[in-house]
């Protein structure tokens, strides 16, 4: 084995935080090396230092045994390093091909799209990626956008590929495909740095380096440790990897909080996104929503929170018809929404944590003093939530785009959990969270259920849904294909319903 890339005592600071401290890390040729650690442990920062996007303050980098300095990503790209960032860096209005080509040639004035098209086509063949090169990126599903990001790195001839939580936005099937592609890359001699919070993925890699609070805890081979030991290395304590089954009070659940009948919705391009959706969620009940992403989940969440108005159908919250009302009225009536796209829909990236924590609820009496915001009060509340949700941030006014991905997600969760009081709508709430936080979030959701909230929970982790939900509704093509009891339903049965096979409603 030869070491291809190595860091020696690498240190990177941001104002008020040490993101990486004396990190010693090495990547062998042809290995899949996983970076594992809590939200905010410094995984993305380390990757960006390896990619030349950030310049470390201390320590050094070695490439093939020679010391190197990457002054910009260009140097790293020349050295054969490619990176897929945690959040997409795409131009939605460009085509797939334009996104891949832009900024790649340094000489000449021509676009060279024809030549690029051939190279992209052959890359797609090589890795069995199926993409229309002339499609606009804005029209692609999230999963497909991830292939575009991977192609961007491969197109530049990467020998070392850094993948920062590539599967966070993928469906389980897409993740499996991604892993086939990754092992193919490995066969071709590429070396891969993979960041993931998902234990199955971590256990598939060749070596794992665990980071905690910016420092390396250790590097281990997955064969030699158990998942439990790994998580203990990560957080320094034992955590429950799976939520324990703990059903709600069936009696309470009889009293409906949310009743939805015959809901249909067409999007601006006239696609039927919701088709006669009928659902009921009772007091103290968690209704799981399973489905392949893009089958109407997003629209359902948006209708239920008043963001979009359904074409037909009705929404009744605690006995009151509310369809067609503006979303503020939903919030006033105690509906909380955790959207699936955190930076686009859940946060204002340039605003501070405390401002983001009251977004939408800024008119609330607690936060105002006459026409003014009561900053002192907001600050105290925000600090309480930062502690409670263990958000890692230098201060309550840190802009959320300076937070690690998982910590940004926690800001949304904290906001929606404290402000809602009847209905909690959570679309992929654990996306990008580390296992310790997932455990915490699930406990919170269960606590809310026990307080009598009705909860709608969508997740791509079917096993989690089976463990948490009192009932599971499966959505496919905008229709509810079945509502099942998780006690006596298997993942396979749900899989069939997700594929569109219809089951007569269990109710």
């Amino acid at each position: 084995m030869t070491t291809i890339l190595r860091t020696v005592n690498l240190t990177k600071r941001f104002p008020g935080v040490i993101a990486n401290e004396d990190v010693n890390f090495d990547l062998q040729k042809g290995e899949i090396h996983c970076l594992f650690g809590e939200n905010g442990a410094g995984k993305s920062t380390l990757s960006s230092c390896l990619f030349g996007f950030y310049q470390p303050e201390g320590g050094s980098l070695e490439l093939n045994g020679e010391p190197v300095k990457f002054r910009s990503p260009r140097d790293a790209i020349h050295a054969g390093i490619g990176m897929v960032h945690q959040h997409f860096v795409l131009v939605p209005d460009f085509t797939v091909l334009e996104n891949i080509v832009v900024g790649t040639h340094e000489h000449g004035w021509q676009l060279g799209l024809d030549e690029a098209r051939k190279r992209v086509a052959s890359l797609c063949r090589e890795y069995e990626i199926d993409l229309e090169p002339d499609a606009l990126v804005r029209d692609l599903a999230v999963g497909q956008q991830q292939w575009v990001e991977i192609l961007k790195a491969l197109y530049l001839g990467a020998k070392v590929l850094i993948l920062d939580e590539p599967s966070a936005v993928l469906t389980p099937e897409e993740s499996i495909r991604l892993f086939r592609i990754i092992s193919h890359m490995k066969e071709l001699g590429l070396s891969i740095i993979l960041i993931s919070h998902k234990m199955v993925e971590v256990m598939q890699s060749d070596r794992v380096t665990v980071l905690r609070k910016g420092k390396v805890v250790g590097t281990v081979c997955p064969d030699e440790v158990t998942p439990k030991e790994l998580t203990r290395m990560m957080v320094g304590r034992d955590i429950e990897l799976r939520v324990v089954r703990d059903r709600s009070n069936k009696e309470a659940a009889k009293e409906p909080v949310l009743v939805v009948g015959g809901l249909s919705y067409r999007d601006t391009r006239d696609n039927l996104m919701l088709d006669q959706v009928t659902l009921t969620i009772g007091r103290g009940e968690i209704l799981g929503l399973a489905g392949v992403s893009g089958n109407g989940q997003k629209e359902l969440f948006e209708v239920l929170s008043g963001i979009i108005v359904p074409g037909s159908g009705n929404v009744t919250l605690a006995g009151e018809r509310i369809e067609g009302l503006p979303s503020r009225h939903y919030m006033d009536r105690g509906v909380g929404l955790v959207p699936d796209d955190r930076f686009r829909e859940g946060l204002i990236p340039e605003f501070g944590i405390q401002e983001n924590m009251i977004l939408g609820w800024q008119r609330h009496d607690d936060y105002t003093q006459g026409p003014f915001l009561n900053h002192k009060q907001i600050g105290t509340i925000a600090e309480g939530l930062i502690d409670e949700f263990r958000i890692k941030a230098p201060s309550a006014d840190t802009p959320v785009n300076h937070l690690s991905g998982g910590n940004a997600q926690k800001v949304i969760l904290a906001r929606e959990f404290v402000h809602s009081n009847k209905l909690l709508l959570a679309n992929q709430p654990t996306r990008g969270l580390d296992l310790g936080v997932i455990e915490y979030v699930y406990k919170q959701i269960i606590a809310k259920r026990d307080e009598g909230y009705a909860v709608l929970l969508a997740s791509e982790e079917l096993e989690d849904l089976l463990n948490l939900s009192d009932r599971i509704a499966v959505i496919s093509g905008g229709r509810i294909t079945g509502v099942v009891d998780p006690e006596n339903t298997s993942i396979e049965e749900i899989g069939l319903l997700m594929a569109g096979e219809r089951k007569e409603a269990a109710e």
Binding site: I77, L90, V91, F94, G108, Q110, L111, L156
Partner: protein, 309 residues
């Protein structure tokens, strides 16, 4: 009114439209490039005024209109350099920067102008002559309108397809548009965002300076305070109304120019409408247009937002 007379008026209005469109077109096409790169430059009016004053100064001092044109472009570049420094390097708010530039230039040019003419009669110069294109200009009607214009007018109109080609058919254009949509996508490929934004602001400002130069040398023989009279703002409005696309911008500029040309002919036409109404029409027209276009805006996503890593 005789038929001959009516046709003569129509030719005069349309030829006037083409001439009036020239300076606005220079500025709007330049600003198109700047905004596509993500810089919302509000200093067009000031840059144009600077170009106009510089052209006047050099034309009267040297007697050479072409030297004056060159000087107007250089003056535009200098103003552009300040704008780029403020918005790209210092990351100052784009609007504040532009408004500051406008106030500064308005004050400076007036001061310089007073100094220049102090104690003497205001010097004048001989501006551009028409250059009829042999053959084409002989075509009846069309020829008189389109092909008997100043040299710079032909250039302004040629700039539209040229900039279209630059934006959509060259590597630079792709990178430029990327800056306006998501500068990070270039940054992670190791390309300098600021170098490219500087280039885009400079290009836009040189074009705007040129527009100011033409305004001076193509319409008049002497400088007046605030000679641009809102044409720089019109260029920005044309850009918005034209939905940030070259042909849209061209169409919007032509409509504005037509309205202004009609306004200068109201007396001959015997229409009893106050001149001011015509001056307000371009703005009104674009507001209406914008309301219709709102849904499919091509405004660059990151326009006017300073880029931080």
């Amino acid at each position: 009114m005789g038929e001959l007379f009516q046709e003569a008026i129509l030719v005069s209005i349309l030829a006037g439209m083409i001439r009036i469109a020239t300076p606005i077109l220079f500025a709007a096409i330049g600003e198109l490039v700047t905004q596509r790169a993500g810089i919302w430059n509000m200093g067009v009016e000031g840059t144009m005024l600077m170009g106009a004053f510089t052209a006047y100064f050099i034309a009267t001092a040297t007697g050479s209109v072409w030297l004056a044109v060159l000087a107007a472009m250089i003056a535009g570049a200098l103003v552009g350099l300040i704008i780029a420094f403020m918005t790209v390097t210092m990351r100052v708010d784009h609007f504040i920067t532009g408004l500051g530039i406008n106030l500064l230039v308005a004050g400076l040019t007036l001061y310089w102008f007073r100094m220049y003419i102090k104690g003497r009669a205001q010097p004048t110069f001989d501006g551009f002559d028409n250059v009829a294109i042999p053959g084409l200009s002989a075509i009846p009607f069309i020829g008189e309108i389109l092909f008997d214009q100043r040299l710079l007018t032909y250039m302004a109109f040629a700039a539209v397809p040229a900039v279209w080609y630059l934006l959509y058919r060259t590597r630079w254009g792709l990178e430029l548009r990327c800056l306006g949509e998501n500068p990070k996508a270039l940054d992670i490929k190791g390309l300098s965002v600021s170098a490219r934004q500087y280039a885009a602001v400079l290009f836009g400002s040189v074009m705007t300076g040129l527009g100011g130069g033409f305004l001076m040398l193509g319409f008049s023989d002497r400088f007046l305070a605030d000679i641009t009279a809102g044409r720089g703002w019109l260029a920005i409005v044309a850009l918005i109304a034209g939905n940030w696309m070259p042909r849209g911008v061209l169409a919007a500029v032509l409509v504005f120019a037509l309205l202004e040309s009609v306004a200068t002919h109201v007396q001959v036409l015997g229409i009893d409408v106050p001149h001011q109404i015509f001056l307000a029409l371009p703005y009104l027209a674009s507001i209406l247009l914008l309301m219709g276009l709102r849904r499919q805006s091509r405004q660059p996503q990151r326009l006017g937002i300073p880029y931080f890593r």
